[in-house]
Symmetry: C2
Subunit: 289 residues, 2 copies
């Protein structure tokens, strides 16, 4: 296309540089040209990040922007940390630093994002939960060489995560999954991957890990959609009756220090699920396209 | 450190945007502060590229810059495409557009780089060749499910590449190596990985591929040190007596279009080996450290 457009690479779910999950964000909001999907895919393949996102003008003026999200191999309907990072980039690209509520269009639907000084949090568009076959439970236990403490279930949050708790946070941290077997199981049962968590002994918090070898990502350093799946799973498990927030850490085994905050919100007539954290812009510049 | 320093991400060995091999280059030449190696490693872990490089002032004023090269997991003594990309970035950072010869300090030694309008090429500091055990030959043939057309050897070019030719370019392109087995073999025999090439039927050129699963890179899209190993291997095989240049393509299976040029140069009293190609700066900006 021979144009240069604004580029940012944002570190998500962290309070320390280089310790969260990066996303590349490319700003086409001021571009009138049509950008072919094949080009977007080539860019996302080249950045080599788990996700690269592209900001466009919204289709509906009630919303703030339209987001397209690509892995190196395919386009996604929704993804968690790219939503937080793209919102941070949008606020900086547009100077909208006073915004407290942002509506993001993406293929899954309109995602409502709340913004405070410190934290950006998205609300689940979709968070359905289902039982999984015994054979999958046993197969997954074989993958992680331990037993689940609670019956794992599949969460439909955009990605299809199977979520389960293991004995405690240390057990979770120490897992060395058989990625080859997990990749095979994921393909066979049509799931994105596996989210494992364990409760910390000294607090209400959890250690979490997310594995998706069939997507080319053995372990995701810090995973927003996985965290959403996890908090929805906790509600199924504990049936909380008032608004509850959980602090979750992730990424230690990959030399990251991810910090997520997950909330089950009891509103007037519905329960909603929210995942948030801080996001720091690391790289600021222009990208030649 | 709380500073912002110049950043570029360069596409190497390509004439088309997003079709080569990316390297992130961070410019510390104007920074007086000591930068801890642990921070450089954290940055390289975070960019998720096969290599991230850092430019510093040279130790010896006869040279142009000192380069440190990191994969997501470790520091390297030398690497090919990061050398070409870092030199391109250096020329742009410093406005040295008229330079025709650049000396790059890196852990392997001083690398001589020639620059023309179109092409940047480095000369091998080291390109020794040795036979490998029969057991490794047979193991590697099992990994690639085909036989070698020429006896493979190990090339010491910084990385330790085993190089071999297969029947032809199409055979090379079609290979689906067993990465798990290749990773095991690499560890067992202390090699970096495997470079496979096949001659094209209609030209003097070659199709090449480079596999290094034990380094966390199943397939490198376009590999400069692998190409250096390959051209040194060709000299061992064909014993050319005059300066010869080979055109090599790589990366097609990863949706890239890598183009490398490899030269065996017969000088007055020695043979030298050179690998070059074009490099395009894609991202220009600043990085917060």
């Amino acid at each position: 296309m021979n144009i240069a457009v604004p580029f940012k690479q944002v570190d998500v779910f962290t309070t320390s540089f280089f310790k969260g999950n990066p996303v590349a964000v490319i700003n086409f909001m001021d571009s009138e040209e049509e950008v072919p999907s094949t080009l977007l895919q080539s860019i996302a393949n080249w950045t080599n990040l788990s996700e690269t996102t592209f900001l466009f003008k919204p289709s509906d003026p009630k919303n703030d922007y339209r987001l397209r999200i690509f892995t190196p191999n395919e386009e996604l309907p929704f993804a968690g940390h790219p939503t937080i990072g793209s919102c941070r980039a949008f606020l900086e690209f547009t100077g909208r630093k006073d915004a407290s509520q942002i509506n993001q269009e993406c293929k899954l639907g309109v995602v409502r994002i709340s913004v405070t000084n410190e934290k950006i949090a998205f609300e689940a568009v979709k968070a359905d939960i289902d039982a999984i076959p015994e054979a999958l439970v046993h197969g997954l236990e074989k993958c992680i060489s331990t037993t689940f403490k609670t019956t794992p279930k599949v969460l439909h949050v955009g990605p299809e995560w199977v979520v389960g708790l293991v004995e405690d946070s240390q057990t979770c941290f120490n897992l060395n999954p058989d990625f080859s077997l997990l990749g095979d199981m994921s393909g066979k049962f049509g799931i994105t991957g596996l989210v494992i968590a364990g409760k910390k002994p000294d607090s209400s918090g959890y250690e979490m890990r997310a594995f998706a070898p069939s997507q080319g990502v053995n372990e995701d350093p810090v995973c927003g959609s996985g965290c959403l799946a996890f908090v929805r799973y906790l509600q199924d498990l504990y049936q909380t009756s008032s608004t509850t927030t959980f602090d979750i850490t992730q990424g230690g085994r990959l030399q990251r220090e991810g910090k997520l905050s997950a909330t089950i919100e009891h509103g007037k007539d519905k329960i909603s699920y929210h995942v948030g954290g801080q996001a720091l812009t690391i790289i600021n510049g222009m990208i030649n396209i």
